[in-house]
């Protein structure tokens, strides 16, 4: 069996165990809370009979294991229950709000890699000089504030004072564009609507950058740290003795081996955006999972909370598996082990 397939199978198996654990954990947290979720859902004016009926419907009168059993059985049918907040299936709610969040995270991820890696490489190549000091200071500032602080500051600077970007939303009014999948950048491109594509891109840049800033900083710092260590290796000294150009040494000999340890953490940071997106979305009125997630949490909407956390965790695990696969593609020790020796 090729190494990559074996790796994938192993990671999928552990992820499944972890996901079952997550479902038990979040389900347990949701069931030990004080207060009656049925009463909270129906409000203080509902009759005792109505509350009792809802308790029955939600299986709240059964033991924990029985409740969990019902939950898992429904889960296998693709049913996460009805949200008490929207009165719609939780899966439908999530399917409606998730694409906007994913699109935001995707653009942020691109920014994180496209800006973070080069900044790290430059910083390491000019280590100890003023260029390095400036980059280190800026990237450290980037990781030192939560997304919502950057969101507010960027919005104030680049949407109000200098009106470069829109203040909120995903599309301008009056374009009359009908989304297909909910991923606007994709939808507009597929339908060949260049104007709408440009508009969607224009809307996503500022929120995505606010979300990406800490990731950019993190990525640059990691790459720099790993590269500075690589620079002490004898083969770099040899490359220098050969008289190779500094840029060639940086990009080819120092960067590539430093990328492998950095990638794993960058993947974790990327996945963590699933959480921090909540902070940026609310500032820019981005119609993603944030508003829904916070609303269902405040209303103790059990099905919706469990469903949202479970979906987010599943995505988190998927991203991590993808990163592991990418690392193994980049890492020759794993890639080459496929060849018969």
């Amino acid at each position: 069996m090729p190494a990559i397939v074996r790796l994938l199978a192993k990671r999928l198996a552990t992820s499944l165990i972890v996901l079952i654990g997550v479902s038990i954990l979040i389900f347990a947290i949701a069931r030990v809370i004080p207060g009656d979720p049925a009463r909270i859902a129906l409000g203080p004016n509902a009759t005792a009979a109505a509350v009792a009926a809802l308790r029955e419907k939600l299986h709240l009168n059964d033991g924990f294991l029985t409740q969990y059993g019902y939950f898992v059985a429904d889960l296998f049918r693709g049913d996460l229950g009805i949200s008490l907040y929207t009165n719609r299936p939780v899966t439908r709610d999530i399917a409606e709000f998730l694409p906007a969040t994913l699109e935001l995270i995707f653009v942020s991820g691109i920014m994180m890699v496209a800006l973070g890696l080069p900044l790290g490489v430059i910083s390491a190549r000019y280590r100890g000089t003023w260029i390095d000091h400036v980059i280190r200071l800026v990237t450290l500032l980037g990781v030192s504030a939560p997304g919502f602080v950057w969101a507010v500051i960027l919005m104030l600077l680049f949407a109000y004072y200098i009106q470069l970007f829109p203040i909120a939303g995903r599309l301008s009014d009056g374009l009359g564009f009908q989304p297909i999948t909910g991923f606007l950048l994709f939808d507009t491109l597929v339908s060949g609507n260049v104007k709408a594509f440009g508009d969607a891109l224009w809307h996503v840049i500022l929120p995505a950058f606010a979300l990406a800033l800490s990731g950019i900083g993190q990525a640059a710092r990691l790459v720099r740290a790993n590269m500075v260590e690589t620079y002490t290796k004898p083969y770099i000294e040899m490359a220098e003795a050969y008289g190779f150009a500094a840029s060639r040494i940086a990009n080819r000999y120092a960067f590539r081996p430093s990328l492998i340890p950095s990638l794993t953490i960058i993947g974790l940071d990327f996945a963590a955006m699933l959480g921090s997106a909540f902070l940026v979305e609310s500032v820019y009125a981005w119609p993603g999972l944030s508003k829904y997630g916070v609303a269902v949490i405040l209303r103790k909407d059990l099905n919706a909370i469990v469903g949202t956390v479970l979906i987010i965790s599943a995505m988190f695990l998927i991203v991590n598996i993808l990163v592991d696969l990418m690392v193994s593609v980049v890492n020759p020790r794993i890639r080459l082990s496929e060849r018969p020796s």
Partner: protein, 277 residues
Amino acid sequence: MKKTLLILTRNPLSLLGLFLVTVIVLAALLADFITPFPEHVGAVVDFANFNQPPHWPNIFGTDLVGRDLFTRIVYAYRISLILAAVVLIIAVPIGVAIGLAAGYLGGWTEYVLMRITDIFLSIPPLVLAMSIMGLLEPTLTNGMIAVTAMWWPWYTRLVYSITRSEREEGYVLAAEVIGASKLHIMFREILPNCVPSIVTKMTLDFGFVILIASSLSFLGLGVQPPTPDLGSMVADGAKYLPDSWWLTVFPGLAILFAVFGFNLIGDALREILGGDA
């Protein structure tokens, strides 16, 4: 320790970090004496003086009910620092003990403990804290519980990886040969070698706990009014952008400076002490 401090003061960046943290901690400790309107920490209203831009004596302006923003930010620092300290005091020993046990004992203990750690690590940090906080009542104590619950696994992972590499070292084998107990080896032999990494990570985390706690309260899942909190101040002020910019900019920068200060010190410590935090 003395040497570490000496090196810290030589680097301009870590010096800036020390300066920021010292100012913030002193301000939080002496809040009752240095703030112009200590009574504004509570549910006070002064409608004659509401939503004013920065001016003397309200150097950061006033909020929507006329309270002094500077006063409230200093008191919010006090609460954030207490929260961060409590979270780390509880989360670090738990995480370290589990990491030591998993890394040294190995076998089934290792498998079970590390899978449990993985479960906690595979819910994005903010989402886990949000769910716990939302399901409990949003109070300061519950905020501490929520953040602690998401924080210990990071220490488990750190200590676990160090323990794994130390397990086969000569000094551990020597201790085993002379019959030292497992507890002795874990806490008296291996733990001291984890301390530099733990200290570095704790310094960085002091800032990051403040960051996460402010994020929770920004979403309305933190300390409730009238208790001053940096995150909820930004959230309340964001509705009044761009005109009342001081409502968001000052509390936002307050978070930035605090986290930045701890990061600068943590970075310098990492270089001095080594370690993989």
